[in-house]
């Protein structure tokens, strides 16, 4: 069991490589508008994969994950105004978001049940309020404007977002196939049984939680460079918080491809709706979420490959499927 999956060819490696190639070549063919749009899709994919790591893999729903994005955005923007290189700002955003996740995870994840979900529920809101009140550092409601001199070109931002989206997806794929991923899914299915089998549940949950905070931290910093201006409402946007969750569930939670597909589809829908009707867009996301939760718990991915996605590991390693 320990090496389950290692040595098997990775399913989906060819479509993945093709998508990556297209994304790498896209800037040559596309104008600024489409490059910008793709960049936002990459940001969405990275965020969705981050949420997928904690909530899709372990079943612990994080209702405030966008807070780590906001922290990353603020840390990145502040570091940039202090004149550090852009890549260092991105690393710092990731590092500080991850550091914040350690005590938070240790506090809420040692408990089973809904405590984690409840504790995370207001986190994004807490971040927004802190960014508004802590005027001496964050500039309060007037936000932080980044001078273009400090920033890399759109191309660099495009590729950093692409690297984050690709890296996050790869991380999910690696974890999914590893023993660690197996342990996480064991926690999701039956935490008590997992513990009985010798899985260190709390440690595993905290590790994956910190990983899932690291990605939004980095993404937030890239976002700050891309928009050149952040304020509490844009960095800690409630809509982003909702979108992260809906993208994963719509695509297929706990899978490698689901969040990618979900993020792509939701971003296209958002591009068509958001500018005119933000409230209608969010209400629609709510309806979508409800429909998926009730009628399609496996997301779009499960529609496409219902047979192969049900218990891929059990079949390949010759185990008896659970009754």
């Amino acid at each position: 069991m320990a090496s389950s999956g290692n040595g098997r060819p990775i399913r989906g490696i060819w479509p993945g490589a093709l998508l990556l190639l297209l994304a790498l070549l896209a800037p040559l063919a596309l104008n600024q508008y489409y490059q910008s749009f793709l960049l936002q899709v990459f940001i969405a994919i990275a965020l969705a994969q981050a949420w997928n790591l904690i909530s899709g893999m372990t079943g612990y729903v994080s209702f405030g994950h966008a807070a780590f994005f906001g922290v990353g955005a603020y840390v990145g923007a502040l570091f940039l105004t202090w004149g550090v290189p852009w890549w260092f700002a991105v690393f710092s955003g990731a590092a500080i978001a991850a550091l914040l996740a350690v005590p938070l995870g240790m506090l809420t994840l040692r408990l089973r049940g809904p405590y984690f979900a409840i504790a995370m529920l207001g986190l994004n809101e807490v971040g927004r309020i802190m960014a508004t009140l802590w005027v001496s550092v964050t500039g309060g409601g007037s936000g932080i404007t980044l001078s273009p001199k400090l920033l890399p070109s759109l191309g660099v931002e495009y590729f950093s977002a692409l690297v984050l989206a690709f890296g996050a997806t790869l991380l999910v794929a690696r974890i999914y196939r590893s023993r660690f991923g197996l342990e996480l899914r064991a926690i999701r299915e039956d935490e008590e049984a997992a513990e009985m089998m010798g899985v260190n549940t709390t440690l595993n949950k905290v590790i994956v939680f910190v990983l899932s905070a690291l990605i939004p931290g980095a993404v937030g910093a890239v976002y700050a460079m891309y928009t050149t201006y952040i304020d509490p409402d844009s960095a800690f946007a409630g809509a982003r918080n909702i979108e992260m969750i809906v993208m994963v569930l719509f695509g297929g939670s706990g899978t490698v491809w689901g969040p990618l597909i979900g993020a792509g589809l939701i971003m296209i829908m958002r591009e068509m709706l958001w500018a005119q009707f933000p409230a209608a867009h969010l209400a629609l996301l709510g309806v979508l979420l409800l429909v998926v939760v009730l009628y399609l718990p496996g997301g779009v991915v499960s529609l496409a490959r219902r047979q192969r996605y049900l218990r891929p590991d059990a079949r390949k390693s010759g185990e008896a499927p659970p009754p």
Binding site: T108, Y115, A119, L121, I242, A279, L282, V287, V293, L294
Partner: protein
Amino acid sequence: MELLQPDILLQLLIGGLLAGALYALLACGLNLVFGVMRVINLAHAELMLIGAFATWVLYNFFGLNPLVSALFIVPAVFVLGYYFQRVLIERVVDRPMLTSLLATYAVSIILINIGLLVFSADFRSVPALQGSFVFGNIAISEPRTIAGVVSVALTVGVYQFLERTRLGKAVRAVSEHAQVAGICGIDVRQIRMLAFGLASAMAAAAGVMLSIIYSFWPGSGVDFIQKCFAIIIIGGMGNFVGALYGGILLGVVESFVGAFISTQWGEAMAYLLLVTVLLIRPTGLKGAPRG
């Protein structure tokens, strides 16, 4: 320190108790639903806002006194909750908690954004009741007193219903062990619908009371649901009386911290209390450990 006078302390205490009573009314409904069907209703605060906006509409367009409109709104929301349980929550009751959390989260997103489409993001208030009661050196605002007293009365009323009546006993039996209750001949589905209707009605009543003392907008629910969760974790999840104590405790603590330190710290107390209880006694002050 001029705040440390008996009159002022008493005033703060009464203010805190009255605010806490409103929290308790809201949190007890949430905890009732959790106790009976192990579902955390993330849309609970939006049910409260339905009550608040209904009061606002009736007051603004028909000039109806909020205490009169409560007589229509609360039963109407009871019926709404009753059927809401039947149509939606019943489908997710026996699924993993993740499912019901996400389903009710979706409902809250839908309600908030419909609220934004209909009422916009402006703050509303229902200034129907004004003035204050003065006893010696203590003055308490009239709407706050009414809201607090009505909230206590309703919470105690529901508690008495649960403790004293046969139907209430059935509700408690289902929350103790649904399967055994079913074997004993209790219609579990029916009881769940009743419990959800009751909780919704309590939320709507809290909404009516909220509307006469605070201003609100469709997004106000977040602050309240946050406090409710702090309260039910402090009091013990699924424990009706625990939520009552927790609510009053939070109200009083907020009132004192708000006066002695700052209002913002008062608002943050819910989170701090929550974290403290999670660290020291995760099952809550009155909760028994559950599997």
